[in-house]
Assembly symmetry: C2
Homo-oligomer: 491 residues x 2
């Protein structure tokens, strides 16, 4: 669409929106639009046609209805912390900001639920319910900033999702505005709800099936005790094996995280967490529950880590040291970022038993492409976050980083894993969807999309590739495409 065509589309839309919304809820001057041109993956940038920031549900529904009438695409956005370009605007589309939907509507400590608007920040929920001894379990690294509506769109996880599940496991009910602007309710307070499980379907649907306008979240009682073990290894593969052993022992840690040597040293220089700087890998294993249970599990895991071959196992001395151990882990991304002008964070999953093999493969790919890779990840659920270091100012490096990232994801698929664990497909991983799924599977996704949005107006072009897209990608002749699909691995 040319600049001229865009202007032709924009003028009548803007005029109509002005009748629905106060002036401050409409952003349309090019300089004011700049802050909205990307999400947490700034590799991709696109100015939207205009930005709409409604304040009430009625305004929001009117905007959606208008866009439906005028066949204008809509991209919804919370805090835009997403890492796969899922909230990347469209040149001919409205960016629908939900920042003003930021109220906690109700807290029910007995039912252990909170009813919140989609723009409420993840951490704000736990802060609001803390006086009742409760918290909201999913804790993505961006939890200070990211919003619950975005968490639903991406089915966000976090350090604690191994034990407490993803967003889908912690949500009871949603209110959704459909592509036509209708308000419907999905799910209920009950463990199961009659009819198809549209609540689960919406989780991770990346803004393509509807606009989430209200969420009922489950709350959990804060555990009586949480304690963390730090284990050092002089061999990455041993650390990977230890992960499988802990799970096989029947223990589900509250968090089980791994960092490799490069990540350890970067994090230590940044956070001074007391990590062993010469280790090839560390594991952080958090155990929570009632006091007695934690004591028993601490001893079990401690002994097991030494048996598997840890060179050192430390229990945090006190709550301050526990927080410090986690501070190192949580600041690992920005810490690694200091090593290099740019970094690219990947997000794949692999079966736990293939962890060691995949880490070796990543190391080989890193050498082949001549780009360093630091590994910081949710080891317990096999969710890798390789951080590829590069310099976008060096000609060709961004392309090389992207190619390396694609190879890592396709390696994950070959061993029976997936191309995203929690960051979503967004704009970034459309190619890899063609590798992950068969044409019949992709067509089933498209049919579901049409069932919610027959005109393709909600975040079009994201998450689910069109057939043409896959045939073009496959014609590039990537040899990974002839590899067995993920099913081979699961068997």
């Amino acid at each position: 669409m040319s600049a001229e065509q865009r202007e032709q589309k924009k003028a009548p839309l803007l005029a109509a929106l002005k009748t629905l919304l106060p002036a401050e809820a409409l952003i349309h001057e090019p300089e004011a639009l700049h802050p909205y041109e990307c999400d947490g993956l700034p590799t991709y940038r696109q100015m939207p046609l205009l930005v709409v920031l409604p304040e009430t549900l009625e305004q929001l529904q009117q905007v959606v209805r208008l866009c439906h009438q005028q066949r204008v695409p809509v991209v919804a956005r919370g805090a835009a912390t997403g890492l796969s370009g899922g909230a990347l605007p469209l040149a001919d589309g409205v960016l629908l900001g939900l920042a003003k939907f930021n109220r906690i509507l109700e807290i029910d400590p007995l039912a252990r639920t909170a009813r919140v608007e989609p723009g409420v920040r993840n951490l704000a929920i736990s802060q609001a319910v803390a006086p009742h001894g409760l918290y909201y379990a999913p804790d993505p690294s961006s939890q200070i900033a990211c919003t619950i509506g975005g968490n639903v769109a991406e089915n966000s996880g976090g350090v604690h999702c191994l034990k407490y599940g993803l967003t889908v496991h912690n949500i009871l009910e949603l209110k959704l505005v459909t592509a036509e602007g209708e308000l419907i309710t999905l799910g209920s307070g009950a463990l199961d709800t009659p009819g198809y499980d549209l609540l689960a379907l919406l989780n991770g649907s990346e803004g393509m099936l509807g606009i989430v306008v209200e969420v009922v979240v489950k709350l959990l009682p804060a555990p009586e005790r949480a304690q963390v073990l730090l284990a050092a290894f002089d061999d990455l593969a041993l650390a990977a094996d230890a992960v499988g052993e802990i799970i096989a022992a029947g223990i589900i840690p509250a968090g089980l995280e791994m960092m490799d040597g490069l990540a350890i040293r970067a994090a230590e220089a940044f956070a001074h967490a007391g990590y062993p700087k010469d280790a090839a890998a560390i594991l952080l294993c958090e155990l929570d529950g009632i006091n007695e249970e934690v004591s028993v599990h601490l001893k079990l895991v401690h002994d097991l880590l030494l048996q598997v071959g840890a060179t050192e196992v430390r229990t945090a001395r006190d709550e301050a040291e526990r927080q410090l151990f986690w501070k190192g882990r949580k600041s690992a991304f920005p810490a690694v970022g200091r090593l290099s002008p740019d970094y690219y964070c990947m997000d794949g999953t692999v079966p736990r038993k293939r962890l060691a093999e995949v880490l070796t493969g990543i190391s080989r790919l890193s050498e082949h492409y001549g780009l360093a890779v630091a590994n910081v990840f949710h080891a317990g659920d096999g969710n890798l976050h390789p951080l590829i270091l590069f310099d976008a100012n060096q000609p060709g490096e961004l392309k090389r980083a992207e190619d390396l990232g694609a190879e890592i994801l396709e390696l994950s698929v070959r061993v029976g894993g997936t191309i995203t664990g929690e960051h979503g497909v967004g704009h970034e991983k459309l190619h890899q969807m063609c590798v992950q799924f068969s044409p019949a599977e992709l067509e089933q996704f498209r049919a579901v999309k049409r069932a919610f949005d027959p005109d393709g107006l909600l975040n079009p072009g994201k998450a689910i590739p069109q057939p043409r897209h896959c045939s073009e990608y496959k014609s590039l002749g990537s040899d990974t495409l002839t590899a067995p699909s993920r099913r081979g691995g699961v068997r």
Copy 2:
């Protein structure tokens, strides 16, 4: 469709099927069809056009493709233990029996998964993996007989689902044959999978979106210890309050079951479990986990039950008594069945805090209709199973039982609950779907159905009512229909 029309449809279909399948895989003589005319809800009976029992995936796909070509509806059936008529045959349709798909294909003790065919019995999975110290958690009362394919179709729960979740929380991957006969895979071994969550969508879809032909289930380590408490109350409302108090104390029991006086006395006469026969209600509270955790929780719950007003709290002396306490509960349905020529088992959910109020309401309805109601239910997740006693040989009693059941379900909706907790909607509760959901919500369900089955050939007429169905039901003028929808209750 007249008998003549059916015969006209049957002949060419049968001829074509004979070219695809061995003779013993086809049942078409009227007398041989009789065993297939109902499922676990024998109130509804219908002879199918014919029954097909394929042995291989290829045969199954060929049958589905043929039915698709000839526009013949298909009703899939596992062990047909369902309680809502979900596997009720169609006069002009094929009943597709999956009994021969009964192999356990792979057990992976490290990944803690088993890959099984849909006709494998629920209990057979736990038995097969017991040598590895593992088990499959969801345990519907019918677990000796019911199959995993049916469990997926109904999203089955059971006593342990309060702590360990429903089928949807214990399934990692499905293979599905679509309405067109294509094979697709949904989900993966990873915690999250890219694309829409079709795996969750299939759980509880009651055979209307595809035929499940393979399931990868999660396995859990058998808990180190399980112990049960029995608490007696002289007031049903106090027992209901105790349920909320236990959950509010931050404890998630492995099972938390309630029985009222009528159910207690029937179960005791049948199973000699040692229940207090003069109690108005008992609670069975099972706690499991590591030894220390169970000890701490036993003491907490014991004290709490006495505080709330239990007249007696007993801990099972030994494993034999624990099993006996559960035997009483598990045989409660047949035990109550001995009190009366017939009984009708309902299945609704209500928020835990409304339990006492709803039990009072059921008691009032029971008097009004002149039919006794025994209550045996999963109290922890607010899943009621009122058993309505009646005599089908007394003119009008079946109708009265059905009307009473409908009123109980609609009462559940009014207090913010749902019309089914785990038995599904099936043929039985189509009316109540019109009460539970708005027209826009029902239309969204229908759109999803069309996305999988545009010709409406998979188990048509079940679970999701057509608009005409709802308008006819509403025109009956039931005053419950003007009551606030479930959202009023959840707030």
